[in-house]
């Protein structure tokens, strides 16, 4: 829960030997001749510009990273499950900047979206917890999936071993345990961190903080850390402390809710519109202390100790414990008769306090003959939950020629099981039984007044607690039932396999390529296998939970400090007030942030790295054409003749993060690659006058909201300069969009009902190869600038894998702006957009609940106005950075069919060219 996502931040306290060296020698250089010589030697350009600076995270740099985590299928033994395993898409951006030489600021942003099948509990295999979902097909009845079944009967022998009935008759012991899986619709999490630091010659302090937000879990945190250097900077002492406050508010799985016993959390559960929300708070205090020591010319050691004190709600609100209740009266040791156990699911219960201690030591050795570095790491941790864990890691970092570095790595991990971990529990009591009073009489109650007790005599006559006969026909009497005694269960229990004993082995490789321009590309792959048998000392006893996963990632880093140094060398200018000839060209060509493909690089060999964020929101009225539509007209006309609309969306938000990499091989040609990451969310409401729900058929109301997210389509484009005279230029763009975004995202199965494909607008891409032609004219005169762009999207395939294709797009915009100062400009833009309707239709099940599920309710004509500002850093060390923002305000919508009104869109861009 408290994963060290900001490990990169902790990095900062790791001092860079070279920068230490240069500083110590600079400050003490007056003292001795030797030190003067030393400092002179270190100021040699070659040493100052060595790669170590480039690797230091405290340099001025920005980075973007994409990760894919993909699990393999879990072993469900006899059940074929079509549930997709867990997959997580992560995008991460970060920046580090130095102000006034000693003040450092860094930030990072992470967004991850996960979906897939996750274990909710474990149970004996004979309990058939993964119930096959059968469907008729031309080949007969086939299994199309599995759904969790957590309340069932289990046959046990007198020694409480699970029994399986065999077809030949009779029973055999089947000791196997199995995970019970439930699927999840996509969920997105956002995290932002910041950090401010101050550096002295032999010390540093940092203060940082951030927050992580997801639908069901929010946390915010702050931390301070510092570093003290001693012994000519051969020794560094590091320390840190932090506090995290987290809040759980989990909507309990409505599928499982009727079968889950949650009495232990009665005070923490809030009921709202048919849902139950489990709430809990948690606090974490952490402290750490570390020592880094240079051992020799090519070796160093780093030792750290960390303490974490956690309190509050540490349960996973979606995990339940299978408890098999057995009636003690049926136990008859020695006999061959079998017992029927009553398997029930209880929300897991973890202790409310956890104290963890971790100790790690890292040894780094330079291997001179091959100029490699061997990194060996060992970590031991233990806590008062009983989890002892050992981690061994070895990395071999091997620089190769031409800026390449390859790092093979291997990791072994082993942990003991938490004291309260059990795959499932057996409790020697009935789950529910009839109440008996102190004198052995069965207790009856009136359903309408459960506080009043009644008893029955031998003549079947009822009397009350005072012995007065009552007329049972006038009362609604039922035997009083009492639930199990929670005190007879362990105080804490969890079947989360992450708390079981196991080992894991993983290995991978990291490949880096550093370009002379100050750009670094990084790609990595790691494969991880969890195995109960790999636990140190064996005996993990949780092989049913074994699984594997891989993680692949790609990153780009831009080191502005290295770029500045290189450019200063090339141009021979002073660092403080340099004048980057090539960069000035861009300031004069401001285009509004919402315009893509709007500007070109002028100099052969020039490179640009940019980031584009776009947010658009729909909310407000439902429109039909250009006018407001009533609920009744949507119900009757928004869907189809055979299906009336029942729901419509109340809001839809789309966020897009795009990386924009551009290179100029020649003066007249630019090449671009633009990967995109999307996330969307939508809320629904019921339409007034909708047809009544069919009894017994569950509907996906979506009132809790849907989210999707992940990799979107990837744009590859070229820009060609057609015409240029001073003050005027014209260029054309020819691009394609590759269908890397998914168009088959599905909602989870609920109440045995297939969720079906998400609405068209919630899919992450077009699913088709698209052609993106565009033409841009830009002009400048004195402080004024203006331009126009024609932009189109032509779908080049008839349909995507889900059976439809999005509409083609044509957009025309024109803008004018004024340079307010040498760094700031403002612009106004008018935009007309035509978007065709969707062609084709879903070829797989979609719930068809509202207008957003019908192709005819897409596209239209739109008129907007955009107000934008552009800012660029004209000089100094951050010269070359450009920022732009634009708000696009809808003026008029004329939509096809029935659609939700648009509220506006924000575009923000950053780019850095060099």
């Amino acid at each position: 829960m408290n994963a060290p996502h900001s490990a990169g931040l902790a990095q900062h306290s790791v001092d860079n030997p070279e920068s230490r060296d240069s500083k110590v020698s600079l400050t003490s250089s007056r003292k001795t001749t030797l030190q003067a010589l030393t400092s002179a030697a270190l100021v040699l350009p070659g040493l100052l510009l060595s790669p170590a600076q480039g690797a230091s995270p405290s340099n001025d740099s920005v980075s973007f990273q994409y990760n894919r985590y993909q699990e393999g299928k879990r072993n469900l033994y006899n059940v074929h499950s079509n549930l997709k395993p867990i997959m997580v898409d992560v995008v991460h951006g970060s920046g580090n900047f130095t102000f006034y030489d000693r003040v450092k600021f860094s930030f990072s942003y992470t967004q991850d979206t996960w979906s897939g099948a996750t274990p909710v509990t474990t149970a004996p295999l004979v309990a058939n917890g993964n119930r096959p979902i059968l469907q008729d097909s031309p080949q007969g009845v086939i299994t199309v999936g599995a759904s969790p079944l957590v309340q069932t009967q289990v046959l046990l022998d007198q020694n409480l071993n699970p029994l399986r009935l065999i077809p030949e008759g009779g029973k055999v012991i089947d000791p196997r345990t199995v995970l019970i899986l439930s699927s999840a619709s996509p969920e997105t999490r956002n995290q932002a961190n910041f950090r401010l630091g101050y550096e002295w010659n032999e010390a540093a302090v940092n203060a940082g903080g951030g927050f992580s937000l997801e639908n069901d879990y929010k946390s915010s945190y702050g931390n301070i850390s510092g570093r003290l250097d001693f012994n000519q900077k051969l020794t560094s002492l590091k320390f840190g402390a932090g506090y995290t406050s987290s809040e759980t508010s989990a909507i309990l799985d409505p599928d499982l809710l009727p079968y889950v016993t949650r009495t232990a959390y009665a005070n923490q559960i809030e009921r709202r519109s048919g849902s139950e929300i489990l709430r809990g708070d948690r606090q974490d205090w952490t402290a750490n202390l570390g020592l880094t020591q240079v051992l020799g010319k090519g070796s160093l050691i780093d030792t750290n100790i960390g303490y974490t004190h956690s309190s509050g709600f540490m349960e996973n609100p979606y995990k339940v414990m299978t408890v098999i209740f057995i009636n003690p009266d049926t136990l008859n040791p020695g006999s061959n008769s079998s017992i029927t156990g009553d398997a029930r699911a209880l929300l897991e219960q973890r202790p409310n306090i956890r104290n963890q201690l971790a100790l790690s030591s890292k040894y780094v050795q330079h291997i001179s003959p091959v100029d490699a570095a061997l990194h060996l790491n060992y970590q031991f941790s233990f806590d008062d939950w009983g989890v002892n864990a050992h981690t061994f890691e070895a990395d071999w970092v091997q620089p190769l020629s031409h800026g390449w570095t390859i790092t093979p790595r291997i990791r072994y991990y082993s942990q003991d099981s938490a004291d309260f971990y059990q795959p499932y529990l057996i409790s020697n009591q009935a789950f529910r039984k009839t109440a008996i009073d102190a004198s052995g009489r069965q207790v009856w109650v009136d359903v309408n007044d459960p506080n009043q007790q009644f008893f029955r005599n031998g003549n079947d006559n009822f009397f009350d607690a005072n012995g007065n006969l009552v007329d049972a026909t006038e009362l609604n009497l039922r035997p009083q039932l009492v639930s199990f005694d929670a005190a007879k269960l362990p105080q804490n229990f969890s079947s989360d396999h992450r708390l079981s004993g196991f080992g894991s082995l993983s290995g991978g490789v990291v490949l880096n390529k550093r370009f002379t321009k100050g750009v670094e590309l990084e790609a990595a792959f790691e494969y991880y296998a969890r195995a109960s048998s790999l636990k140190l000392g064996g005996n993990g006893q949780s092989s049913f939970a074994d699984f594997d996963f891989y993680v692949a990632n790609a990153a780009i880093k831009v080191d502005m400090e290295a770029i500045n140094s290189r450019m200063n060398k090339e141009t021979g200018h002073n660092h403080a007030n340099h004048d980057h000839g090539p960069r000035h060209a861009h300031g004069a060509h401001s285009v509004p942030a919402g315009i893509m493909f709007g500007h070109m690089l002028d100099n052969p060999g020039e490179l640009m790295v940019g980031y584009r964020f776009m947010y658009s929101r729909q909310a407000g009225d439902m429109l039909r054409g250009a006018h407001q539509a009533s609920d009744l007209s949507i119900v009757n006309e928004g869907c189809s003749d055979i299906t009336l609309c029942r729901f419509t969306h109340t809001e839809m938000n789309m966020k897009m993060h795009m990386l924009d990499i551009m290179y100029a091989p020649t003066r007249w040609l630019n090449l671009m690659i633009m990967p995109q990451f999307m996330d969307m969310d939508m809320n629904l409401r019921q339409l007034e006058g909708r047809p009544p729900p069919v009894p017994g058929v569950h509907e996906h109301t979506g009132t809790g909201g849907h989210t999707t997210g992940g990799v979107g389509d990837t744009i590859l484009s070229s820009l060609i300069k057609l015409y240029e005279i001073p003050g005027h230029r014209l260029h054309a763009g020819l691009g394609i969009s590759a269908p890397t975004g998914k168009v088959d995202l599905k909602m989870r199965r609920m109440f045995q009902v297939d969720g079906g494909l998400f609405h068209f607008d919630m899919q992450l891409g077009s699913g088709t190869w698209d052609f993106l032609p565009n033409l841009t004219y830009a002009g400048t005169s004195d402080r004024w600038y203006w331009g126009a762009q024609l932009y189109g999207v032509k779908r080049m395939e008839r349909s995507n894998e889900s059976g439809y294709r999005l509409g083609d797009i044509f957009q025309a915009s024109t803008w004018g702006g004024y340079q307010l100062s040498n760094w700031l400009a403002a612009s106004v833009r008018g935009i007309y957009t035509f978007r065709d309707r969707i062609h084709g239709d879903f070829n797989e099940f979609n719930a068809r609940i509202g207008p957003m599920d019908f192709p005819a309710n897409h596209g239209g004509q739109y008129w907007d106005i955009g107000i934008g500002v552009n800012a660029s850093v004209p000089s100094g060390k951050f010269s070359g950075n450009h920022f732009a923002f634009e708000w696009v305000q809808p003026l008029r919508d004329d939509v096809n069919g029935f659609q939700l009104e648009r509220e506006g869109a924000l575009s923000a861009t950053w780019h850095y060219s060099f």
């Binding site: 829960m1 060290p4 902790a10």
Partner: protein
């Protein structure tokens, strides 16, 4: 027993770091130490993402948890 185990490991690891602290390495002898692949964390971007993944699949404590965040990991 666990505490004893922990203290023994601590002493071994910390003494390794401190006892060897007497060696003097002149600044001009630190060329290899200054190389990027000798940095304590040569791939910080990787460490951050791996830390997050291990943290959501394993129950070990972390030195770096002072940073906070990481989310629920409720899958």
């Amino acid at each position: 027993m666990k505490v004893t185990h922990f203290i023994v490991i601590s002493i071994i690891l910390f003494s390794g770091a401190t006892l060897s602290g007497c060696a003097q390495i002149a600044p001009w002898e630190r060329g290899n130490l200054a190389k990027s692949h000798m940095a304590l964390d040569p791939n910080p971007l990787q460490s951050s993402i791996r830390g997050h993944i291990y943290g959501s699949r394993e129950a070990a404590a972390s030195i770096n948890s002072a940073g906070g965040g990481g989310g629920c990991g409720c899958f």
